[in-house]
Symmetry: C2
Subunit: 216 residues, 2 copies
């Protein structure tokens, strides 16, 4: 094992990213690996770098994607509710994560899990800076220090650099993973990620045939 850790790219704006935040730390724990969380802005990547439309504005795929998100939530046994919010973004949450990551990494992850669930379970608007500050305060963070940072230029520059680095590495959707140097995209690939962590290789057809045989 060359790298004891693996990388997890999230964006709270995505329901699939939210679903992954409910699972990824437990998966890492089960396999004694460290998971490094990285924020990305998937809307920026899809529209500005890839030249596509956001999924919710894409005919056919938008309906399928939501149905599939609900199916995956049921498979993972976690709540998921469709919100009717428009023009939301995850800038403040992603910036607050970076500020927290350098100070209290466990709380930083907890904060993103809570912010993702606030949007995808409670239907709250995560866009305002005030959301990030009050949510961070509720998990014991220095709210004044965070607010000062969120209003300054440094944290904006830091997130922009993180997003550029992710794009340079090929990250174009969420959740996205790098495990043992290999890229893996999608909440529906968590089972492959888990298999790779357990066995050091990708599963084969024979492996997944066992799932059908063994489950009653």
């Amino acid at each position: 094992m060359t790298d004891p850790g693996f990388d997890f790219y999230f964006d709270p704006i995505s329901p699939f990213s939210y679903l992954a935040t409910t699972q990824i730390d437990e998966i890492a724990r089960r396999h004694q690996r460290i998971v490094r969380w990285h924020p990305v802005l998937v809307g920026v990547t899809i529209t500005k770098i890839m030249g596509l439309k956001p999924i919710p504005e894409t005919p056919l795929k938008s309906d399928y994607s939501w149905m599939d998100a609900e199916r995956q939530a049921a498979m993972l046994d976690v709540p998921l509710r469709r919100h009717g919010l428009k023009n939301i973004n995850s800038l403040a949450v992603c910036r607050a994560f970076l500020w927290l990551r350098d100070r209290e990494p466990d709380i930083a992850r907890q904060f993103v899990r809570r912010a993702s669930a606030a949007l995808w379970v409670d239907g709250r608007d995560i866009t305002p800076l005030e959301f990030a500050v009050s949510e961070a305060a509720s998990v014991g963070v220095d709210a004044d220090g965070l607010e000062l940072a969120l209003r300054g230029p440094q944290i904006k520059e830091l997130l922009a650099r993180e997003v550029d680095a992710a794009i340079a590495r090929g990250v174009f959707g969420v959740p996205f993973f790098f495990v043992d140097g290999q890229a893996l995209w999608g909440c529906d690939r968590l089972w492959m990620l888990e298999f790779k962590l357990a066995h050091g290789r990708w599963p084969t057809k024979r492996d997944w045939e066992k799932v059908s045989d063994l489950s009653a």
Copy 2:
């Protein structure tokens, strides 16, 4: 079980569709189900209906998709080679499939499997009408009858209607499946399809955790 069959939408232009053609009849056989093959033109759907670019022209996603196709081919233990062909389409192959399906359904599927592998293993151009005719002849089909049909207007109209029907049903990529009334997209979902056929329900996290535990 309300429907003894399930639906499989293919387009030989896609490496993921090719991979699925190597598996789907065997999966149906293992679970005593009938699989109904349907041709679609995924390039038309992506560009004209969804307003997106083809995957090979989409930054970031194009590289990932090919790497992922190779990974899935390895997982399924089937050959896959990248071709350098440009401006290819699957019109003649899809039309020939429809003509064959009404006459010899088993040969129709065999023909699509062979045509898909011709492109994705042998790197042959499947675009010309002559390709479909000679490939069909090699599996014992009346080549003159097929060529006459491919040059006429009826088969073109028939394929157009099939594609419209698929889009109306929400099919936007390949391989695409409907099983027990539910939509499923992607070669990477074959394990979910197989589980659904075996158990009448989607797998849960507990089911896929068994794969990691049981494979050595």
